[in-house]
Amino acid sequence: MSKLVKPYGDTQNDGKVQLSFTLPVEWSEAADEAARQLVAKMGFTDVAVADGRRIASGFSFFVLYASTPQAVDVESIAAPSARAGAMTMDEVDAFVAERIGRKIRVAGACIGTDAHTVGIDAILNMKGYKGDYGLERYHSFETFNLGSQIAVEELVRFAKERRLDALLASQVVTQKGSDVKNFTALGELLEAEGLRDRIVLVCGGPRVTNRLAGELGYDAGFGRGTLPSEVASFIAVTLAERLRRAERAEP
């Protein structure tokens, strides 16, 4: 079954969207018209310039409303979430005690030159985020927060030395694709070191999605608003499943 939807202004299927952007031109009525034509060229109809003004010499800012003729079939879209089925801290501790029988060793870091530890701290620090305790508080985790600006090589060396079960790589800065480059480098190095299969590899950051993580070959990706218990649950369940399969594979 398909369900086609369009943006909703005040009437079903009116396709109304708002747009705003800057053009590198001095403001004039012709600049308003240029903005309108540009949006029409994008395929929008009923384009109206709500506001156009000068913001600096040689630059103008516009707010427009327009309709899109496009629609999408929401039934055909799958965006798997790694956040589903999260347990509470106590549940995770009980689950790990029963299914794994030892502490899970996990390290997190802001990799590359990224210095923004807000995300990784929210997940790992005892204090946690939004009243949800961080992994350091769990009985079932042994946690290493390596902090900011950690080279990929250093993280992999650490994973090897400490025989980690899980790695959390965080990237906040996304300028010029630096996040994707760093995530990719980490995945490739783990692969080259033969560690990839036994480590639950997770990435996080405000622009990270689980879909992106999948494309990068990670086990999961967590974006903005993620709670520590969601990450803890994912790691615990994934690791338990992996250990179970490894056991079965042994003769």
Binding site: I55, G58, F59, T113, A115, G147, Q149, V173, Q175, K176
Partner: protein
């Protein structure tokens, strides 16, 4: 608007800050670092890079490693100047290529070295003094819009794109432009060279980039009829060298905190304490306003809980700044609007904290940082939170106001984002310009109670720090929940104890001139 704070408690906090700084000052006086010595070389005129892009200042220092330069580099360099008759940069170049070595001139008398250094020392102080006077003259002639001074960041990675963005922002009302640095730069133990067009999350701080931006802003300032200030970052492993470059290129402000690098960049604390002192001596002499980094306590931990730590850090930063010769008018103590917006009465807490700082540090150009932690990507709500921040800033008379961006947490600001942010600040601040002067805070009310509690807790925290000693306190994680070891972290290998014959020609000159310099008002 007044909080009726406990003045005796404020006085005790200052005494405690002094007690905390005392042992650190003793440490500073008996140590130097490779960054301080490189700053000395730069002040003497050593500029440029050797092969492989190694700055000449680094090459000279490296040429005397691995032995620690316990007597400082100046005497050895001065001996070589005296014997060779070369200019500092040319001498450094020859040392870098291995054609010359400082060890060759060991036998030269110290007096000859000092005599050879003298003209270069005088020239550096003259040049920096001239830049300072230039600033004063421009501020007199062009002036500034009234504070809060609207401050925005440019950060494209390309200095030429930054220049376009900076001029556009100045036209849209920005009074201070900061070129944020490439994220890795604080950990580089050298300063990159020349104009740069690539960086991550920011643009490299180089002397050439400083000059490019300075001249663009001077030009914009003449057109707009008001002086536009320029800011960069004297933090990380090259604090003193950045301070030298900023002095030569007439930057007006520098981010410069006594503990930030230790806590948030894992830079060795001893390195930081020594480096911040010499860089602040330079800032004092060059008339540069420092901006301290207390906002970081709030972004990395709960903002309500961390309020006493912010105030404690402000007291400590003030004390260290005074000891480096900085007058109040050059100490831009930091704070930030980071309390969870969903918390009932969050605005009251923000006003309490901002007003508290204003009353305790009445002559400091306070630097107020915008909400970042609770910005989600919802630009509409973000714009609204920024408006509340703008209102708090104008009503509590903050001096330096970093404009919040609606697109915070999405991308480094677009040109249009900056224009919207500046428009927001200009509207709110104009509409509420004298609001703070009209309002009387209810005695014993929620705002006053909160301020009193923060001050009392700050005193308690300072007492604990004073009892333990600052290094031990940092080691125990008393600040921002971050624990750092006195000999851990980056850059420790570049710290050394001064020998009996240690000599830094600028230290003496700066400490005397700083004390006698007129305490001019830097901001409008």
């Amino acid at each position: 608007m007044e909080l009726r704070i406990d003045r005796a408690c404020v006085a005790r906090c200052r005494e405690l800050a002094a007690a905390i700084a005392d042992p650190i000052e003793t440490f500073i006086a008996t140590h130097s670092t490779v960054a301080v010595e490189r700053a000395v070389l730069r002040l003497l005129g050593v500029d440029g890079v050797a092969a492989d892009e190694v700055p000449l200042a680094n090459a000279v220092l490296d040429s005397i490693a691995p032995a620690a330069p316990v007597d400082g580099v100046a005497t050895a360099f001065g001996k070589a100047l005296a014997e060779t008759g070369l200019e500092p940069t040319e001498l450094a170049r020859r040392i870098a290529t291995g054609e010359r070595a400082l060890a060759e001139f060991d036998g030269t008398p110290v007096a000859a070295a000092r005599g050879a250094l003298r003209p270069y020392v005088d020239e550096a102080l003259r040049a920096i003094g001239a830049r300072r006077q230039e600033r004063s003259a421009l501020l007199d002639r062009l002036g500034q819009l009234p504070p809060p001074l609207l401050y925005v960041i440019v950060a494209s990675g390309n200095i030429y794109e930054d220049r376009t963005a900076a001029v556009a922002a100045a036209e849209a009302g920005a009074q201070v432009i900061a070129v944020i640095r490439s994220t890795g730069q604080s950990l580089l133990d050298f300063v990159p060279y020349g104009p740069t067009t690539e960086g991550f999350g920011g643009t490299y701080a180089t002397q050439a980039n400083f000059a490019i931006m300075r001249s663009a802003l001077d030009e914009a300032g003449e057109k707009l009829g008001r002086y536009v200030m320029l800011t960069n970052y004297a933090s990380g492993l090259c604090m003193p060298e950045i301070a030298v470059m900023a002095a030569f290129e007439r930057l007006d402000m520098l981010l410069n905190d006594s503990m930030y690098g230790v806590l948030f960049r894992d830079i060795n604390m001893k390195r930081t304490f020594v480096d911040q002192h010499f860089s602040r001596m330079l800032n004092a002499f060059s008339g540069i306003v420092i901006n301290t980094g207390e906002d970081n306590y709030l972004t990395t931990a709960d903002a309500v809980e961390q309020a006493p730590a912010v105030l404690a850090s402000q007291f400590i930063n003030e004390e260290f700044a005074h000891r480096a010769g900085l007058p109040d008018a050059q100490i831009g103590l930091g704070d930030a609007y980071e309390i969870n917006p969903d918390l009932e009465d969050s605005f009251l807490y923000q006003v309490a904290q901002a007003q508290l700082a204003r009353e305790i540090f009445p002559n400091a150009p306070l630097k107020y940082m915008p909400p970042t932690k609770h910005m989600t990507g919802d630009i509409f709500k973000g714009h609204l939170i920024d408006a509340m921040f703008n209102l708090t800033s104008v009503m509590t008379h903050q001096t330096i106001h970093l404009c919040g961006m609606p697109t915070e947490a999405i991308h480094t600001p677009f040109l249009g984002d900056r224009a919207l942010a500046l428009e927001n600040a200009r509207y709110v601040m104009n509409a509420a310009r004298h609001f703070g002067d009209e309002v009387v805070l209810r005695p014993g009310g929620a705002i006053e109670r909160r301020a009193h509690a923060v001050l009392a807790d700050c005193e308690g925290l300072l007492e604990r720090v004073a009892a333990m000693g600052l290094m031990k306190a940092i080691e125990s994680g008393l600040f921002a929940d971050v624990a750092r070891a006195p000999e851990g972290g980056r850059g420790f290998e570049g710290v050394f104890a001064r020998g009996a014959d240690y000599y830094n020609p600028f230290e003496q000159a700066l400490s005397t001139s700083v004390r006698t310099a007129p305490n001019e008002k830097v901001t409008a």
